[in-house]
Symmetry: C3
Subunit: 390 residues, 3 copies
Amino acid sequence: MRSLRHVTSINDLTNPEVEHVFALASQYLKRLGDKDIPYRIAKSTKAGQGRLLATLFYEPSTRTRLSFESAMLRLGGKTISSADPNASSAAKGESLADSVRMLSNYADAIVVRHKRDGAARLAAEYAHVPIINGGDGAHEHPTQTLGDLFTLRRENATLKNLNVAVAGDLKHGRTIHSLVYALARFGSRIVLMPAPGMGLPEHVRWRLRHEFPGTVVSEADQDKPIDVLYVTRFQAERAANEVSTYPRIDLKFLDDKKFSRARVMHPLPRVNELHIDVDRDARATYFQQAAYAVPVRMALLSTVLGLSEKKFAHYAGGFRKVKEELVEPPAGHGIACANPNCIVHDEIDGKYSANKFYALPSEPPRLRCFYCETDIADVRGAARTRGAAS
Amino acid sequence: MRSLRHVTSINDLTNPEVEHVFALASQYLKRLGDKDIPYRIAKSTKAGQGRLLATLFYEPSTRTRLSFESAMLRLGGKTISSADPNASSAAKGESLADSVRMLSNYADAIVVRHKRDGAARLAAEYAHVPIINGGDGAHEHPTQTLGDLFTLRRENATLKNLNVAVAGDLKHGRTIHSLVYALARFGSRIVLMPAPGMGLPEHVRWRLRHEFPGTVVSEADQDKPIDVLYVTRFQAERAANEVSTYPRIDLKFLDDKKFSRARVMHPLPRVNELHIDVDRDARATYFQQAAYAVPVRMALLSTVLGLSEKKFAHYAGGFRKVKEELVEPPAGHGIACANPNCIVHDEIDGKYSANKFYALPSEPPRLRCFYCETDIADVRGAARTRGAAS
Amino acid sequence: MRSLRHVTSINDLTNPEVEHVFALASQYLKRLGDKDIPYRIAKSTKAGQGRLLATLFYEPSTRTRLSFESAMLRLGGKTISSADPNASSAAKGESLADSVRMLSNYADAIVVRHKRDGAARLAAEYAHVPIINGGDGAHEHPTQTLGDLFTLRRENATLKNLNVAVAGDLKHGRTIHSLVYALARFGSRIVLMPAPGMGLPEHVRWRLRHEFPGTVVSEADQDKPIDVLYVTRFQAERAANEVSTYPRIDLKFLDDKKFSRARVMHPLPRVNELHIDVDRDARATYFQQAAYAVPVRMALLSTVLGLSEKKFAHYAGGFRKVKEELVEPPAGHGIACANPNCIVHDEIDGKYSANKFYALPSEPPRLRCFYCETDIADVRGAARTRGAAS
């Protein structure tokens, strides 16, 4: 069996691996950058000649798909794309597992976007080429985070000791979930500014609290100046209800002394939460952020495909602060992931497609779904949800 | 006028031409194959540099379109793609003939998928580059069959004297129709295992019976072991009714001694007819089958585009067991194809788009539609269907 | 700030620039043309290696998108494509301005198609790569016109003193609007043959009358033979009502002595207005016209991207017959474009997205919208439409 490196979560990469991606991205900007626009790639290499990237997108996208395609083409490679589930065999009822097995034969790496949490990790189990998570439900969007961190590093010169306020839909925002882990790992502080009822999910907060105590604060408790204000869109497609009150960042909001030097970031697209008046303000950093997606994705693809001299080491669990034990209860019985949007609930042939957990060293016992990384805090309670055999 | 070779039916290729495609595909696997996965292409050539393939798909597809695109890119060429009829000028009412004439100027070969039987052959009449049939209604899917045969040849070392059971929707399954002709031509036997009411169409059975007597048997009459079990999906998009009973191949079904050495094949995507438990069984061959699509399509494209040393001869009718005479009654009057899904019934400017038949040497007289290859068994009866002038 | 050349209107190019594009297109046909088909490109160059073209299409298209992609690939470049607004971030509510800013970082030029008049010019304001208008509402389709003129030049050897009849939907047909300006500029006469109620818009007629007096005649006043009959489809997607009477060009229509030597052109796709019987007539020129799209778009891309030795000069207003003064009233107040389909009426953050006019040297005062080029004939009347502050 060959060793593949998948990027399904930001935690699949160690800190030195993230640093390697950034170093390579900086080289690309230096060698291939636009002479007028410092954050833009304008030329191509031939390093990736003959290599193919597939994009397999089950949800709408422009930015992620096109920036990955641009990155692959700038590397000298080529792309094939399944961007519209209605025009693909998904319309005929094909499972994600089968689609990924097929595409593994047609391309050298696959970027997957899916509405289900944990879909990327399921895809990785069936692929024989590297899987890159292009956003899976409300779980993670690790390559967005790589671009975000790279932007912070370029614009702030450091990732350490920053006060990063995250505003908006912290509940469904997959970019937020990847980001907060990464900020904690690189030594920054996270200041929570959720929209009402849209705080970080319990399992994300639990994990940050146990692995990085003290890194998360609520805005009320924060009196230091904010270095970065990271705004996100309301994820209407993932939320059960409409929202009545949502943060709206405009120049008036930014008048607050706390934000006087705060860089404003946003993964885009924006709808109403970030006013266009901010575009001309020196603190606006979101267009650079969008541009940095290309060199960062070039660097990631280059490393994953083995185009650069340095390759990622054989998978050794990525970043792990806590030692977890993998347990695999039999499918269809007993314990199941408590997250209703987890990919494991997609049934194939009358079976749940997968069922696997990390047992966390905690009291009371806690299981973390291997796929979507949602925790079952009370294992006995969860076990009942599917009427275990006994 | 230049001579073009179109592949609209498996019978457009002679047996030596099929063998040439296989020889070339084997070379590609040897030169460009994945060192860990024997059926996967992992590298590219430059033979097709500067050449363009267009995919013109009026029906959903992932496998066919992406494997063709992958094949063209692995050859060093490039692709343009019209994959969504709703985002194309088909949405404005453009005819297939006009679309093909246009694309002939933009690319060097065109793969067409269409819901109408016979669409590929109509397209070929208007193209000035080679047309490859990527599936036309319930008619044929010849490049799927090339991949299927190649799989059989690689895995069974021969195409002769195999007992190949075809199961499921034999009525609407275009892959089946291409396959049974090819199996008969290469000397294998076809064992019918249709879902209830989904047997081979009458004209397909008639042709096999007249051209290859004795090659088709029903499962009940077959006591020899099955070498290959070829399963197909219910073609819901082509059937008038829901289906209540459909074969379901699982490990229990395969327990039957008759299947003890049968390779299980499936053109994919599957829905419920082939259980995932079979995936881990040594007899499962469908994932290799999907992978072989790439080298086979590379070989076909290479030959059609004239990239390899050997080119297909000028078209001399492909494989023909029986001498047929082409007759062309005036459009809009008299005899018309009896198949309501035939492309000829698409009206353009108040005319049926085409009308042309092979007169078969049989008694009673029998006409075979030039486009969809459905027969009119009783010519006088059919003639009445459009109220002939007299 | 770097100097970019956008092509949002045919009038963005001077006559010598148009001639340069044609000279280059002719060279491509000579060097890379099909030996059997004089109007078809069959080979590729490497001039554009490493360069990327993005297509950003908010409306269905096959011809424009695929011929641009073909042109870019034949130049040796590559493409990324957002062809389906439902599968893009437009589905999440992203503004055109934001989408263009993003794509500017992923590609070296962008072709935009949009349902709003003036969208291309708005896009150009936000892009930092060249924008090419692939059709914006009923405004213009300048690259179609470049192909049309090139066809005329190749087939008629001149663009001067031709009598060009334009038939059909002259009101909504954006190809017509670009075409009539170009014909006037190159010294041809325009003979109007509108469908009932579908004459040229008032502002187009006004402009032709003032800048090129005497170049437009109605068919009734025209007794000279027609050199070119340019037919267009009814633009159902842009019209408020169904149409009952529409020109239908067939062989009988062309029997008229006036058309005995008229080349028949059509931008395609056609629906019913141009009968297929004409296809075999020697006067039919529309398939050549479709084919010439490729060398012409290659030449345009080559010039815009700076691949050819000659580049377009820094933007100096393109073709301008009349000196206009740019005025910019404050957004949200006072004067606004009177065209309800103009892009400026897309509100972003409670503001109209833009508001800018050319003051024309005329009496009574007349303002031309900078974006969609619709005129406000009575400025005071228009000012009232949005309830000016005073």
